[in-house]
């Protein structure tokens, strides 16, 4: 992916200055506290958009844990990405209360509209579509989140209206 390459120094396999700085800052923000790994990974992902593979040894060394442990944590949790997402992340709830309001149909509509499946990103890098299992908006199903903004009672029409202005 392009964004992935942008984080790397073309002259070696490691991280470019920007990425390295952000990782160092993430470590500095949490390293003093007990059991900081998960919080460090959150901070890295918030700053860089994902957790680059090249960040793993840097974090492991700084926190004095094995690379395998850091990698194990990154892969255990659905939230952490190992490659960049599109510019806008659309999360569609798939859990029971939203199923009771036919979220499967909304999901199918979204997939058709964007021409991608769940866990995929459009070729122009604009949208990433993801399933999510409950957003706590279950009395106003089907629920959806776009870039951290929550929506309720989403219909195919309101879905189209909401994504259209996103560049």
């Amino acid at each position: 992916m392009n964004a992935d390459r942008a984080l790397r120094d073309p002259h070696d396999d490691g991280l470019n200055d920007h990425a390295r700085e952000q990782i160092e800052a993430s470590l500095a923000a949490h390293a003093g506290r007990p059991g900081p790994l998960l919080q460090v990974l959150h901070e890295v992902q918030d700053r860089l958009g994902y957790v680059p593979a090249a960040a793993v040894p840097v974090i492991a060394e700084a926190l004095n844990v094995s690379r395998a442990e850091v990698h194990g944590v990154v892969t255990f949790y659905h939230h952490f990405r190992q490659s960049p997402a599109g510019r806008h992340v659309i999360q569609l709830c798939q859990a029971e209360a939203c199923r009771a309001m036919h979220c499967e149909q909304l999901t199918q509509h979204a997939q058709r509209k964007l021409g991608i499946g769940l866990h995929e990103t459009t070729a122009d890098g604009r949208y990433t579509l993801e399933p999510v299992y409950c957003l706590g908006n279950c009395a106003c199903s089907p629920a959806m989140m776009i870039d951290g903004r929550l929506y309720g009672r989403v219909t195919p029409e309101s879905f189209d209206d909401l994504i259209a202005p996103l560049s």
Binding site: A100, C134, C140, G152
Partner: protein, 513 residues
């Protein structure tokens, strides 16, 4: 004097457009030179009326809803700021039928106050419980919680006081209070609403727990799907600290308590308490083998209280008004009130806090008004993705721990999800297996491998391939999961599957199109 106008900051209200409504009200007031004070409150939990705008008048608070930004000009033209009539006028908020009949103890302030104002909190009875607790010996605080009959609201319904006593009885050392705010169950949002609408009550409850058991540090484990709650909690913690209610010397008592919010990362299993502790320590959320109990060896190997948001938020009232007061609500061994969450295909969804004992039918029809689609309600799932499906023939069951357990169901965290007659229960049973497969922590074979096999079996059942034999295999697999799982994810996935099979057998035998 400025006019107080309330527009919720609750995530559901925001999801329905409360943000633009708030902006429009501010703009319109400015245009008209009206002095209004806009307060971003929590939600009253009447979600069919959200965004619900309230205005304070001498005669009480008037409600208008559901308001869109386009309605704002006409609201001003009708002088809503004096509580006058309008197409969206719902009368006095407290008189709205679905709210008036509730018994709100834990949610007494949610929607009423400014969630992050310590001043407002105290003006509405906040911190009375902590003030009392500070004057009591620790054992007496624990005794009050035991006497109240409070049982854990996270799902397992274990008596809270007994858990606290175990931690108190450990010799003095670093101890922790942890709050389980992972709220992963579909159909539940009580924790979220409380954290967004009255976070100081959770903070007060955790502080009381810390003083009771001798813990100086607390952690709130919050799911990452709740960014609005995250902001509200952090604002409230900062406000409490600034006002001397958190920190090294609480209210000059010499007692210490600190609080930190830590975010989860999208793993349902991390709501299981030992998995949550692993995750709080920054590791993979793999379930721990018990014993030792977390109360003896919990976070970082130290004695730890683990409680759900609602359990902890119930404590201030118990301390402020006494164990007897709390215990006098409820029925049998289900004491106090329960914030029920009505969701799914329902006309009037939301939060209903009542003493235990309301029937499912009263909840679904009197409060909920039936399905959103207008079709008959065929089933409800109670207690999240691991809870049983209950058919309409059992809607007269009372909502309390024992009555539900008598029909093979469980209350869990109090979520009730309604389905109309278009639901395909075979599809829901398949989904239960799929969810287990996705969220398994991987420690036990039946859960990790068996659930994937369960999905395949259900696919064959649905496609009518060797149907009866595959249904038999699903039953056998459920048996293996029930008996061969370390925790409730594997151990309870059979509940939705078996109840669907038992009450809706026809859905598993449909002809294939």
């Amino acid at each position: 004097m400025s006019i107080k106008v309330y527009v919720p900051r609750d995530a559901t209200a925001l999801s329905l457009g409360a943000g633009p409504v708030a902006t429009a009200i501010q703009d319109e007031a400015q245009r008209r030179g009206l002095d209004i004070q806009l307060i971003r409150n929590g939600s009253r939990g009447l979600f069919w009326l959200e965004p619900l705008v309230e205005v304070e008048t001498e005669g009480g608070r008037h409600a208008y809803g559901p308001v869109t930004a386009a309605d704002v000009t006409s609201l001003f033209e009708s002088r809503f700021f004096e509580g006058r009539g309008h197409r969206l006028h719902q009368g006095l908020t407290e008189e709205i039928k679905e709210l008036r009949s509730q018994q709100r103890l834990t949610f007494a302030r949610v929607g009423v106050t400014d969630p992050v104002s310590v001043e407002d909190y105290v003006a509405h009875g906040g911190y009375e419980g902590l003030t009392r607790a500070l004057a009591m010996p620790p054992a007496a605080i624990v005794q009050a919680v035991t006497d109240s009959g409070l049982r854990g609201r996270g799902g397992a319904a274990f008596p809270t006081g007994i858990k606290w006593k175990t931690v108190l009885d450990q010799p003095p050392q670093q101890k922790y209070v942890t709050c389980n705010a992972d709220e992963g169950d579909s159909g539940t949002f009580a924790d979220r609403m409380l954290m967004e609408g009255d976070p100081l009550m959770l903070i007060e409850g955790m502080t009381i727990a810390g003083i009771a058991v001798g813990a100086t540090q607390g952690y709130i484990y919050l799911r990452v799907e709740y960014p609005h709650a995250h902001r509200a909690l952090n604002e409230a913690i900062a406000a409490a600290r600034a006002a001397g209610y958190l920190g090294p010397n609480i209210l000059g008592s010499g007692r210490q308590f600190e609080l930190e919010v830590r975010l989860g990362a999208g793993a349902y299993i991390c709501g299981e308490e030992t998995s949550m502790l692993e995750s709080l320590e920054g590791r993979r959320g793999e379930v721990r083998v018990r014993p030792p109990l977390p109360a003896i060896k919990g976070l970082f190997g130290q004695p730890t209280v683990v409680n759900n948001v609602i359990s902890l938020a119930s404590v201030p009232v118990i301390l402020a008004r006494g164990a007897e007061f709390y215990k006098n609500f409820g029925t049998g061994r289900s004491r106090g009130t329960i914030p029920l969450q009505l969701a799914g295909n329902i006309k009037r969804g939301g939060l209903i806090e009542r003493a235990f004992g309301l029937t499912l039918r009263e909840l679904i029809y009197d409060y909920g008004g039936g399905s959103a689609s207008g079709r008959p309600i065929r089933a409800v799932q109670v207690g999240g993705p691991l809870g049983a499906y209950i058919p309409a023939s059992q809607f007269d069951t009372a909502i309390d721990y024992e009555a539900l357990s008598n029909i093979g169901a469980l209350l869990g965290h109090g979520g009730v999800v309604a389905f109309d007659d278009t639901v395909d229960m075979a599809g829901m049973a398949r989904y239960a297996m799929e969810f287990c497969a996705k969220e398994s922590c991987g420690k036990c074979t039946p859960c990790r491998i068996g659930s994937t096999r369960g999905v395949e079996l259900m696919d064959r059942v649905i496609a009518n391939i060797d149907r009866e034999r595959n249904l038999q295999l699903v039953e056998e697999l459920c048996d293996t999961l029930l008996h061969g799982s370390l925790c409730g994810l594997g151990g309870m996935t059979p509940f939705p599957v078996q109840s669907a099979l038992k009450y809706f057998p026809e859905d598993f035998r449909k002809s294939v199109q």
